[in-house]
């Protein structure tokens, strides 16, 4: 069974590296991006099944990353990562095409569960 491909996007490079290490330990194949434009490139090139994308990036925000990559990658699911607890913001993410929203600080095991749940939903033909 091939490894699940995940892109991790965050402008805090330290966090990206650590999270990638953690996810690799859990058996994922991880692609890293430290900015919005870098993320678009990485996603288009590697076609990951899952994108973990921080909302606030230095150049463009996470919503733009979703809207610019989703047309070329219809099978990819997006999980938005943010530090802001704000229900209206979460709605905005979901409208933009994100399947889930997780809040920082991240609990990696919980994140693993969320990823699995999202992927299961996809398999059952229910993207959300």
């Amino acid at each position: 069974m091939p490894k699940v491909k995940i892109a991790v996007v965050d402008d805090e490079i330290e966090f990206v590296n650590d999270l990638a290490k953690g996810l690799e330990l859990l058996g994922y194949e991880v692609y890293k991006a430290a900015s919005g434009s870098h993320a678009i490139e990485v996603i288009n090139r590697n076609k990951p099944e899952v994108v973990l994308c921080d909302y606030k990036l230095d150049d463009i925000d996470g919503i733009q990353v979703v809207s610019r990559t989703k047309p070329n990658n219809p099978k990819t699911v997006y999980i938005m990562v943010t530090a802001y607890y704000d229900e209206s913001l979460a709605d905005t993410f979901k409208k933009a095409g994100a399947s889930e929203v997780v809040y920082k600080p991240i609990q990696i095991t919980e994140l693993d569960n969320t990823i699995k749940k999202v992927l299961d939903n996809i398999k059952q033909g229910n993207p959300r």
Binding site: E14, F15, D18, L19, K21, A83, Y85, K104, I108
Partner: protein, 697 residues
């Protein structure tokens, strides 16, 4: 001869007007009735004096002396009755009978026999003057007995009474003694003795005493000397004018008509009755203006105060300066400012003077109810004017030592009550005072209402600012925490996954060191931002100028507010000249200025947009300035609204987005830091705020 005419006239006019004055001050009070009757008796006596001086024939002199004696008979009678009334003493039926029968019998003797006065002959400088009849001493005896009983009773009560009563009795006693002694000199005339110069001048004592007693009866406390001087001056001028009219008319008529003197008296009396009140008002004003400049000025002070207080938004300052002003101008013995506390449904004292305690009035107290209904100042001495003056209302007022209860009405709501005690000078509050206080109260109500709203709005503004800060904290603290957290989780996961099992000790130590260092770096980041935030959030009550770097302050502000703006998809451009001189300012206030302007700019931007912050040295007219421009690409402000943006509560934001306080605070802070703020704006293009601060020396 002229002296007698003059004295007679003075006594007549003074006594008659006193009689009217006292009567109308309390038409239902026994003391007022008796004392006005007494004054009428004295007036009759004075009128007799006047006719006596003018008498040219024995018949005229007989009429004159009978008038004088009529007055003289009733003077002690009504004086005694006044004393009884003032002392609130019951008079036995026997005494009443003997007093009145004496009066009636003596009057009969006076008018129908010549046992009191007879055979006028030219003497003592008079054309004709009466001679004492055999019963003449009876009048003197009655006079003496009446006088001494009255004075004795007064003196005895004076010794045992206290407070206001004691003062009243003191005045009554001394004035009575002086007046009666002065008047008694006239008796000697009947025995051909003219005690010149005691007579006629001692007769001046009579009107003097009459006024003093009237005053003591009508007033509840006694005046300061300044007030007495003023009243006397007004009275003297009034008298001079009245007398002028009188003499003029009388003399003119005497020239042409027989008995013109009496006709003149009648005519001038009518004129005087109608002219006295307006004349007195006029004279009081003139005296106030020229002799008591300070007192007159207070009206101006009050008016200019009204202009000032309306722009003040600090409740403390409004109320302190109001009370201070009232103290300085009206000199009330006590003042209290009660404001409605909605939760307790009571009017509670915000500040008082002269009470030494807090006072409060229920919102359904009689005073509050009355003020809500009338919306007018309630002067306690006008009690009778109100249809249903209840004892409770009176008791409430007395309980507060209140002379005036002044309503603060805002949109038909009674938001507060000002209580003023009596003036220290014991002057009454004049109609003019009440008019000015009415104006003052109207303004005060608006100012107090505004200040309360302002305080509420400032509270909301603070809450909104806290929201922004919370977002800042979330980002700035949340991110480093997230890094530390993830790092530790991954480390533990690696341990559990056996990743470190085959590694060398050195490698493990180095890796752990890296992890620790990262965590330390991130905790340092957290503590840095918490420092900035707490610095920002602290209220800036005191002003502490220091050398301040503009860019540093902009960055610090952006670190708090920037993330929220980015959430709203606003791009922030920073263009700061380097190096840039520092300014001397309070750092926290500078941050607040930037914070408010940037927040405003963000709110002016509907969808996406940019905020550009520029800072450079030198402005058009002054190279010693540092200029900071904060430009947004928002909606812009219409030209006709530009003037209003600094006004408190002016806002173009939709309801709930802003209270409109920001810019008025910003401008105050800019000014406090010796800077200036200008704004340019174009609808559809955006708004630029231009701040200039002098370079630090």
């Amino acid at each position: 001869m002229g002296y007698y005419t003059f004295v007679g006239l003075i006594i007549f006019i003074v006594s008659l007007s006193t009689a009217m004055f006292v009567y109308f001050k309390g038409p239902r009070k026994k003391i007022n009735i008796y004392y006005s009757l007494f004054s009428v008796a004295v007036a009759v006596y004075g009128f007799g004096f006047y006719t006596q001086a003018l008498a040219k024939t024995p018949a005229q002199e007989i009429i004159a002396i009978r008038i004088i004696l009529l007055g003289t008979i009733f003077i002690p009678i009504f004086f005694l009755l006044s004393v009884y009334a003032l002392l609130d003493e019951k008079i036995s039926f026997a005494i009443i009978c003997s007093i009145y029968s004496t009066g009636i019998i003596f009057t009969f003797i006076n008018f129908f026999t010549s046992h009191f006065a007879q055979n006028p002959i030219p003497k003592l400088g008079f054309s004709y003057l009466f001679q004492a009849g055999p019963l003449y001493p009876l009048i003197a005896i009655e006079y003496a007995i009446g006088l001494w009983i009255s004075l004795y009773k007064t003196f005895r009560s004076y010794q045992i009474s206290a407070g206001i009563k004691r003062n009243q009795l003191k005045y009554l006693f001394w004035a009575g003694l002086i007046g009666f002694t002065g008047g008694s000199v006239g008796f000697a005339l009947g025995y051909n003795v003219n005690l010149y110069p005691l007579n006629p001048f001692s007769s001046y004592c009579v009107p003097f005493a009459i006024i003093i007693i009237a005053y003591a009866i009508v007033r509840h406390q006694l005046l300061e000397i300044e007030v007495i001087i003023r009243k006397t001056l007004v009275f003297a001028s009034l008298f001079a004018i009245v007398f002028g009219i009188f003499v003029g008319i009388t003399l003119a008529l005497q020239q042409f008509i027989v008995g013109g003197g009496l006709l003149g008296l009648a005519i001038s009396s009518i004129i005087i009755i109608f002219a006295v009140r307006p004349l007195e008002d006029f004279l009081t004003r003139v005296t106030d203006k020229y002799l008591f400049q300070r007192k007159y000025d207070y009206k101006q002070i009050l008016r200019s105060f009204i202009d000032e207080v309306i722009t003040e938004l600090n409740l403390d300052r409004i109320i302190n300066s109001t009370i201070e002003l009232l103290d300085k101008t009206l000199h009330p013995a006590a003042t209290a400012m009660l404001l409605l506390n909605k939760y307790e449904d009571r009017y509670m004292s915000y500040k008082t003077t002269g009470y030494g305690r807090d006072i409060a009035l229920g919102s359904s107290s009689k005073i509050a109810t009355l003020l809500k209904a009338t919306k007018e100042i309630f002067p306690v001495h006008q009690f009778e004017k109100y249809v249903n003056p209840t004892d409770e209302l009176k008791r409430e007022m007395e309980g507060l030592n209140a002379e005036l209860a002044i309503p603060l009405m805002l949109h038909n709501d009674l938001i507060g009550i000002m209580i003023l005690g009596k003036k220290k000078s014991d002057e009454e509050y004049t109609k003019e005072d009440l008019d000015i206080l009415t104006d003052l109260a109207r303004t005060e109500a608006i100012a107090v209402g505004n200040a309360q709203l302002f305080a509420e709005a400032a509270q909301n503004e603070r809450r909104a600012a806290i929201g922004t800060l919370a977002a800042g904290i979330n980002h700035e603290v949340g991110n480093p925490l997230n890094i530390i957290n993830t790092k530790m989780q991954v480390y533990l996961m690696s341990l559990d996954g056996g990743l470190y099992k085959n590694k060398k000790t050195d490698e493990i130590i180095n890796e752990s060191k890296d992890i620790m260092n990262t965590c330390l770096k991130q905790t340092a980041r957290i503590s840095d931002i918490t420092k900035k935030l707490s610095n920002f959030a602290r209220p800036s009550k005191e002003f502490k100028p220091e050398l301040t770097d503009i860019e540093e302050q902009i960055d610090d502000t952006l670190s708090v507010v920037g993330h929220e703006l980015e959430l709203e998809r606003i791009e922030i451009k920073k263009n700061i000249q380097k190096p840039l001189s520092r300014i001397s300012a309070d750092k926290r206030q500078i941050q607040q200025i930037f914070f408010n302007i940037i927040k405003n700019a963000a709110q002016a931007i509907k969808e996406k947009g940019t905020i550009e912050i520029r800072a450079y040295a030198g402005s058009e007219n002054n190279s010693d300035n540092i200029v900071i421009e904060i430009a947004d690409s928002g909606d812009g402000i219409p030209e006709d609204k530009l003037e209003m943006i600094y006004e408190p509560f002016y806002t173009t934001k939709e309801a709930g987005k802003g209270t409109g306080l920001g810019l008025s605070i910003v401008r105050q802070l800019v000014w406090r830091n010796k800077g200036d703020i200008k704004v340019r704006s174009k609808v559809g293009e955006g708004t630029t705020f231009v701040l200039t601060f002098p370079k630090a020396a």
